[in-house]
Structure formats: structure tokens, C-alpha cells
């Protein structure tokens, strides 16, 4: 059967059979790099198009519909425009940091792609601390944002960056705690193990109410962590014009923009892996006809379907809710989400110890 795992395996076999191991590994590195960058740009194009269409539908509009059939090439045209635009550096800016910031944001977004499992057995790096790795790297992007805000030498940018710093640092706590809930249940930080533990049912189904709560908190926290509305205080276009990327133009702006969407993809993929079983098909009971039909759907389709569903939910938030104020945002985290997720973690631990989950 043609699956991503088989293709990857046969490519690897061929490489190791043809070249000596060092060269084969180097070629593999190159292939993975190209694929990661390709996925990165593809995700940017697809997600921006999706966002524009979803927002248009919610706002009784049509959305992009001129370039290509149903406007699918609109984002391509926009990217082309951004590439040919002049990337200006303001006179008063700290030149080095200003130009470095978008790359830091982008690189940290790209590195998190490594431990994600895109399909059954299709993964860049099955590191044994996978979830921890993601949580650690994703907090790096705040450095890029702070850098951008500071180096722009613009008061709006600085305010936006400072808001973003406070926001990401505090929301990481509850995001981490809700990730921990699943780690406690599955007993491993390794992504393949977490997925394997959901073979007989996704955690959202077999984990009782505490896992639902963890899931909701996870979605809220990652929405905040990726600076998406209603937590888009770092940008807050009606208050701070564009927040930390006010002074950016051309491709440097595009990198911030792309990084935002890749971050969304990554956190939604993580949500899908932790709570919705990653590439595991939907199963009810054991050995039923329904399960067999579900097994025919390729694992990559399952994974991307779940991820895109979560992305849609996050977009849905953005186009429905007003923005919170900075102190309310922090109140929500420290007074509501953090206590709830701590108590929730205790409950989950109880469930895990007593083996109450299915």
C-alpha cells in the first residue's frame, strides 16, 4: 500500500544502499530541509487562503475570488507582491536586531515541526522528550517578538512586544499544564507513545471530564500563545496600529505573518496529537464494520483533518470575539485558567493512578 511511511522507508533504503552512510545521512538532511521549508510555505499559503475564506463567509462576503479558480492563487500573488516590495529598515532602528527578529520567529516556528507525526510512522525526529521539546521551543518565539518590538524604536511596537511577552510567558503555564494532563495519562513524553496510547480511543473520549477541561484550556492557551484574536494584544490593530510589526514591510513582514500561521498549525497539530489521537482513525468499540471503513482512510488524512478542524475553531474565535484588555487577559490566565488547570491536573493524576480511564 502507498503510504507516507512506505515511501520514506524505501527512499531511506535506496539511499543507504547506494551511498555510504555519512553521505546518505547528509542527503536525507537536505531532503528533510527542503520538505520542511516546502511545508512551511505551503502551510502559509493554504492557511492564509483559508483564513480569508473563513472570515469572508462569517462576514457575509465572498473573499478572494479573482486570481485563479475561486481565488486560490490570491495568496501566491500576495506573496509575490511582498517579495518584490522593498524591505525597509527605519533610520532609528537597531539594524541587527531589527533584521534578525523575523528569522528568529520563523526558525523557532520551523524547528517545532521536527517531532510532529504527520502520518503513521512519518516523522522527522522521534525524540523521546517530544512534547517537552515543543513546549520549550515554542516559547522562543517571544524573544523574536520582543526583539522586533524593541529594535523598531517605535512606541507602538514596544508596547505590543511587552504585551506579547507578558502574555506568552503566562499562557505557557496553563498550556503546559494541560499538556501534562495527557502526559500523565499516557505515561510518556514521546509523541509516538502518546499516539500509541490512544489506539483504543482518543483521550478526549476516554479521559472523562478532566480531559475535556484540559482540552478547552489548551485551545484557549494556545490561541493566546500564538497571539491570535481574541488575544491579539501584541498586534491590536485598533489600539497599536500593528503592534510589534508596525515598522516591518516586504518579506520581513511576510516572515512574521508566515510564522504566525505555522505556529497555529503546530499548536493545532499538537492538540490533535494529544487529545484527538494524532493520525489514529476514529474507532468505536473493537472489530466493528465502522472501524474497518475508518481504517481505509489514510493516516495522513486523519492527521491533517483533525489539525485543520482545530485551526478552523481558532479562526472561528478570531472572527467572532472582541479583544480582551491586557489586564483582563492576565486575569483570565492567573485567576481562572491556571487554578482550574492545576486542580484539573490533580484530577487527571487521580484518574491515571486509579486507572479510571478506559
Amino acid at each position: 500500500m502507498w503510504s507516507l511511511q512506505n515511501i520514506a522507508d524505501s527512499v531511506q533504503h535506496w539511499l543507504y544502499a547506494t551511498f555510504n552512510p555519512t553521505i546518505a545521512m547528509l542527503i536525507e538532511f537536505a531532503i528533510i530541509g527542503v520538505l520542511a521549508i516546502g511545508l512551511f510555505s505551503m502551510l502559509g499559503l493554504v492557511l492564509i487562503y483559508m483564513e480569508r475564506k473563513v472570515s469572508a463567509w462569517m462576514q457575509l462576503r465572498l473573499g478572494p475570488n479573482r486570481v485563479g479558480p475561486k481565488g486560490v492563487f490570491q495568496t501566491m500573488a500576495d506573496t509575490l507582491k511582498l517579495i518584490v516590495k522593498e524591505g525597509m529598515t527605519p533610520n532609528g532602528a537597531d539594524k541587527l536586531l531589527f533584521n534578525l527578529a523575523p528569522f528568529i520567529v520563523m526558525i523557532s516556528a520551523m524547528v517545532i515541526l521536527a517531532p510532529l507525526t504527520f502520518a503513521k510512522g512519518f516523522q522527522i525526529w522521534d525524540i523521546n522528550i517530544g512534547v517537552f521539546f515543543i513546549a520549550a521551543i515554542s516559547s522562543l518565539s517571544v524573544i523574536g517578538i520582543l526583539m522586533a518590538g524593541w529594535a523598531s524604536n517605535n512606541k507602538y511596537s514596544l508596547l505590543g512586544a511587552m504585551r506579547s511577552g507578558a502574555q506568552i510567558v503566562s499562557y505557557e503555564l496553563s498550556a503546559g499544564l494541560s499538556i501534562l494532563a495527557i502526559v500523565v495519562l499516557s505515561g510518556s513524553l514521546k509523541i509516538t507513545d502518546i499516539i500509541a496510547s490512544q489506539e483504543n480511543g482518543w483521550w478526549i473520549f476516554k479521559g472523562h471530564v478532566p480531559v475535556w477541561i484540559a482540552f478547552v484550556i489548551f485551545i484557549i492557551a494556545v490561541t493566546a500563545e500564538t497571539n491570535r484574536a481574541p488575544f491579539d494584544l501584541a498586534e491590536a490593530e485598533s489600539e497599536l496600529t500593528a503592534g510589534f510589526h508596525t515598522e516591518y514591510s516586504g518579506m520581513k513582514f511576510a516572515l512574521f505573518f508566515l510564522a504566525e500561521y505555522v505556529n497555529i498549525f503546530v499548536v493545532c497539530a499538537l492538540g490533535a496529537i494529544l487529545f484527538l489521537g494524532g493520525w489514529m482513525p476514529l474507532h468505536f468499540g473493537t472489530g466493528t464494520k465502522f472501524n474497518e471503513v475508518m481504517d481505509y482512510i489514510p493516516s495522513s488524512v486523519w492527521f491533517f483533518g483533525k489539525t485543520f478542524f482545530l485551526i478552523f475553531v481558532i479562526m472561528w474565535f478570531r472572527w467572532t470575539f472582541p479583544r480582551l484588555r491586557i489586564d483582563q487577559l492576565l486575569n483570565l490566565e492567573w485567576k481562572y485558567l491556571l487554578p482550574i488547570s492545576m486542580i484539573n491536573l490533580l484530577l487527571v493524576t487521580l484518574i491515571a493512578i486509579l486507572n479510571w480511564h478506559f
Binding site: 463567509w57 462569517m58 462576514q59 457575509l60 462576503r61 475570488n65 474565535f317 467572532t320 470575539f321
Partner: protein, 160 residues
């Protein structure tokens, strides 16, 4: 105990109010084909129907004999708040040999016009009207200064 009850009540009320909003936008997202309100402007140009009172620009009404009803009385020029209209008159000789004031050139500065309709109201012979055109963009400002009476046109018989 009441603190915890209030706390849970707050959270529940908040979630409910957010869900109501999401239900609405979700409904629109699912029914976007039916609910859409935008128009595809240049595509629907042929079917675009502007009401007859729409104020696009001032035109001088000419009939099929290239005759208009403007006597050159300058009532519109006086009524205009912006100096949009400039009437240049000439003296025609009537068959009886009398001199009679008549319109020579009706200059209309579209760039100054605010479509206030006061000139149309002021015209005693209903010689001018508002047209329904609305795409007035040009590449040179001088193109906005228009002469409204067509070449060779003259005043209709019987209009005083």
C-alpha cells in the same frame, strides 16, 4: 461555598455568551452562499440599476433634433454654491430682427460639483437634469471641465 458557586456561575455564563456568538458566526459560515451581501461590482455593471433620482453629474437635456431648453438665464449659475457652472451667453437675432439672449457655452466643472441638486431646482425651464453616471475618474483634471451643450445645438422653439 457561595464563592465557588459564583465562580462556576461566572465561568458558565461566560462560556454560554461566547457560544451564542459562535453559533451566529458559525451559522453564517455554513450559509454563506445564501447570506452574502456583497456585489461583484464590475461584473454586474450591466444589471446595475441606479434610481432615476441618483445624482451623478449635471447634463443638459437634448432632444433628437439637437435642441435644448436652456435660455441662458444663469439661474443655475447663481444657485450653485461652488461656482461649478459658468454660462456664456451670446445674442441671437430673432426673425423680427430683435436681439435675443441665448446660450453660447454651458461650462460645467465636474471637479467642483458636490451634487447638491440646487441648480436643477433653480432652472425655470427644466433644461438640465442629473444623470446617473458615476464613474468620473479621468487621468487629467482638465477632462473634468465639460461643455454641456452639444455642438450646433440650439434652443427649442417656444421655450422662454
Amino acid at each position: 461555598m457561595s464563592f465557588i458557586k459564583n465562580y462556576i456561575g461566572d465561568v458558565w455564563g461566560a462560556v454560554k455568551s461566547l457560544a451564542a456568538g459562535m453559533k451566529l458566526t458559525g451559522h453564517y459560515a455554513l450559509h454563506h452562499k445564501k447570506e452574502k451581501i456583497t456585489q461583484q461590482y464590475p461584473d454586474n455593471k450591466d444589471t446595475l440599476n441606479l434610481p432615476e433620482r441618483f445624482r451623478g453629474e449635471v447634463v443638459l437635456i437634448h432632444d433628437e433634433n439637437n435642441e435644448h431648453a436652456c435660455t441662458g438665464c444663469t439661474a443655475c449659475e447663481l444657485a450653485c454654491p461652488n461656482g461649478t457652472i459658468k454660462i456664456i451667453t451670446k445674442f441671437d437675432l430673432t426673425p423680427e430682427g430683435k436681439k435675443k439672449k441665448a446660450l453660447d457655452t454651458f461650462v460645467y466643472h465636474l471637479d467642483l460639483c458636490t451634487m447638491c441638486n440646487l441648480c436643477i431646482e433653480a432652472c425655470p425651464t427644466s433644461a438640465i437634469k442629473m444623470d446617473q453616471t458615476f464613474e468620473h475618474s479621468v487621468t487629467d483634471r482638465s477632462e473634468l471641465i465639460k461643455t454641456l451643450n452639444k455642438p450646433g445645438s440650439k434652443i427649442r422653439e417656444g421655450v422662454e
